[in-house]
Symmetry: D3
Subunit: 237 residues, 6 copies
């Protein structure tokens, strides 16, 4: 059965940027799994650090709980690498672990960050890890055996915070009308970043309006994605 694998640097990312796709595919009965490489504990937890007595462990625990709840609302499972953020540094062991996840889950859709982000270097780091694991998972000689055969699926990059500075050029807008209410509810599990709730609601509304304009079909809420590879199609349109 097909499934969706999401690789993100921090917890908020899978909600703001891909929450609609996650909820939409989960609602279709597909398995959706999130690999969250850090808790965003140092760079994206200002709210937690402002609390008296904040420690690294407390902040991480709070963000972990938030992320698990948000993932649950969206209908996805989530695992954490606890690899640290700002900077996120990846290791051979992390690559092996994500590769194993590809092999075990055999997703046919992969979502991750854009290639570049001058505002947040952890994002391209996560992108590179996801790209590398996707390729290694396909290698016949990586932990060889009949049950491991796998072919690398399409990789969709979700929308960064300030698209034009990240070389991001969407080639598809996903209609997330059916998933919007769920996505919006997931926002509420990220109280650390309330300043982004309205921001990403506006992003969704404007992407929806663009999607409607590009297609002539009704769309209120949208999420923008950029494919990493050409598609293979049996007909145009």
């Amino acid at each position: 059965m097909p499934g969706v694998l999401v690789v993100t640097a921090h917890p908020g990312d899978f909600v703001w940027r891909a929450g609609g796709a996650i909820a939409l595919h989960a609602a279709r009965g597909e398995s959706v799994h999130i690999v969250c490489l850090s808790f965003g504990e140092r760079g994206e937890s200002q709210g937690e650090w402002a609390k008296p007595g904040a420690t690294l462990e407390k902040v991480k625990a709070a963000r972990k709980t938030e992320a698990e709840q948000a993932a649950g609302i969206l209908g996805a499972t989530v695992e954490f690498h606890d690899a640290g953020d700002y900077p996120l540094v990846t290791t051979p062991e992390m690559l092996e672990r994500v590769t194993d996840t590809f092999r075990a889950m055999k997703p046919d859709v992969v979502l991750t960050h854009a290639d570049e982000d001058p505002y947040n270097l952890d994002h391209p780091t996560a992108n590179r890890l996801a790209r590398a694991a996707r390729i290694v998972a396909q290698a016949a000689g990586h932990k060889p055996g009949p049950e491991t055969a796998y072919r690398a699926p399409q990789l969709y990059m979700f929308e960064p915070h300030q698209t034009e500075m990240c070389g991001f050029r969407p080639d598809l807008i996903l209609n997330i009308d059916s998933a919007w209410e769920t996505k919006r509810r997931a926002f509420e599990f990220l109280p650390t970043q309330t300043h982004l709730w309205a921001y990403y609601e506006r992003v969704a509304l404007n992407r929806g309006q663009q999607g409607a304009r590009n297609s002539g079909r009704k769309m209120t809420y949208g999420e923008a994605y950029q494919r990493a590879f050409p598609e293979a199609l049996d007909a145009l349109r």
Copy 2:
């Protein structure tokens, strides 16, 4: 009913670059119409000019016959603007005529040249005319009336001769296995350019192999396209 409109500068273009898509969609019972802006009489008819007694009218007539036969084999209708080539120069009347064609046919797929081509300036000229007509056809105030409502469809750019010099980056490879035999037969109606028969057979085979690699699905012959606008989708994949 949906239909496919193809706008090309010269007769060969719709065969080499889009013959598979034309044959494939025609075979599905869709209406496919080709607007061919010139006969390629000056710049792409070396064979005809080498014949004793060649004149502009004879060359044009020969190319017209070829083009009609090739279009017929592919299952498409074709009209000619006889606008001249090398250089192709477009006029307001041509824009109006192509716009009328959009309005009359209401295609939901449009195929044309890439934006740039340093080897052949007629190609981007045709691209600009197709783009302009597609937009004007959508304007509520252009020959207004209830029967004229139309929304601009996706525009697919087909493969130029030397892709890397034309800023061409395919985002889809069309499986033309079912249409290949027809496309190949259409080549034979272009005796003026026999040196391209084998060339474009190799292009099709290599695009097919790339399509298979990108998708994991069987594909022997392919055609590469680049969409001009983002898609709007109801699900990823």
Copy 3:
């Protein structure tokens, strides 16, 4: 005294894309003048065309009134070239007229469309006219004389509808908090395009949030611009 010259293809453009800058500079006592090349009568007046008995002249008159009211609210003067839209076609006479406007007004800030826009070919056409007039206005031998000396000022491109498809990469975000209320009021004079009111309010809010993030300064509403030329500065920052 310095002044701002705005060159747009259609009436809505100067409101959605540059209304904040216009209101802000006008409120500082600067002269702001808009050259509006068409009334957007064919391509951007769906509302007017839906009215019973609509004719080209009625639609143009309605759009002209709207545009004059919107310009008035913003604090700017406006002139129309009535050059037609979809497609906008420029002529040597139009270039001469805009050049004369540069010479008469001697603006030190020029605002116009981005270089590219696959959704609307009138926009890059207006950009090219503004660029050409700006250069010709500076030519010593164009209508020579002591009073005509002028040097070409910075040219700021305002935000297109779907930035990533237009090669638009902002290098400055203008704080339009003080001008927002005026800009928003100007929207109401564009009843033909009510579907864009909320869209561009969201754009302004998200640009404001980006501006605040990029600068650390308070900003609620923003407009994004891209300079065409390097600045010359006496100090960094």
Copy 4:
């Protein structure tokens, strides 16, 4: 015998940007011919316009004399289209005339402006004319006949005034040490633009130093070029 054809918008261009190549190839006994589309009379003749009693005809005559003298020093012939500048507007007749020049001269090297120049729109206009004529000259059906057979040669774009703003990326640096003295002497026939003498001497020295660094060979003065098409070689290096 091989020859060099240079297509420029204004007289200064062939001196500042290609004077070394012209002098170097002329000194090898090759025929070098310059097509100069305007006299730069409006936009690049500040010095002439500052003279009392300046008129368009006087300015043009002065610039023509300068250009002929500069071309003579460099060892080239020059013809003028007198097409006007700021803006330079090309016509079908100009295209035909430049095409005829290609056919008559059969150059195997063509030099012209870069594709883009936001500071000077006449420059890309000249580039497009040269590109179009180069292609039409090759068309078998353009003024057909056995003596007209021609194949389009490499096109080298010379260095614009502010390279980074023009998308100019050199792929070759020409050693003009043997031609420098001649090039520098040609500067002196352009008294209208004395402010550029030292500027382009510095450009030549810095390009020379870059050329030496890139190659390890001695080079003091250089000119940078960008090829429009791939080369075909029998060996690397």
Copy 5:
């Protein structure tokens, strides 16, 4: 005496992508040496892994034998770093070893992968190692001494599998007609990747046809390259 150094990630790469250049230069009596960083044992040895009883060591041994035979046919020597593939990870020791190879061999032509390849991350990794070693080899303070003086030569990037996705834009097409038979024979030593034999024969034929078209010279088989640095020339053409 001049020589050619080739740095590749996997054995097949030097055959498919640069086999013509290797054979051509070797046939001229030049020394050609290949640094092959891995055996492609995990990611590019599907054929070997499909054999019963396949182990990593057996696969590596088989690919090593193949690579040595292919290199021998082409006329080159080959050394292996045995650094592993999918992913290829480079180390300071590898950089030092490749740098020593530059110093010992003093090649004046270097061939390696393109900068980007979203299909195969080992390829840009090899590119970066080759670029770094080329620069370090030139450093006066790296293992200083009179015999080590060296200047960094041109670096030619060979053609990736799907050029448009890799930002590859060729600036030269090498005529490999004289070397084709040898290159084709080397294919036969890569039985693991028979599906690529016909693919790269078609690539060679189409590059040959492009080379002929670009130059007007006879060329049947070609290889495309992109230079990393500008050339320094004593004349155009």
Copy 6:
């Protein structure tokens, strides 16, 4: 009080590329601090290595003295990481140390290398370290505490040696007329690289002339910079 932090790979870089900005801001009473990651001892000290009895330690000591003297002349403090060059390899400890420098100094202007440089891989390495430290310094959870609050300032990339090959496109030219004499004097403390004295004087003069042309203001000497992020402004111009 505002301050300027400069992060460079080698000693010469801060003189050739940013010496004007350093001297100009220091002369305004601002604190300017340079983090110099290596002594350029292996790759940029040919002069020192040519001396009899040269050793790594002697070369480093000589370059350190030069750099301290040049920094002193410019009015800046300098610290060295002694991390080695050709290649410069950064470590987590270096990131932490530069991050601490950001936190302690709280600069509101940061200068560093461009993102790319195919001639010198140490330059983009320094760029990435500066970018990473700038971001980590802003993270609430990095060594949290009230005194550490900091927001990341604008990052200005200074001019690489051969701009067009490095993707460098300046968006501001700094008038360094008041600082030129000081900058030029600093050159004299870099006797190892005398071949660059005249080169960078010419760069400064040509950038000055470009700055004057772009702005209409008097400028003799300039330095070019490219901002990494959009500005936030209260008015255009």
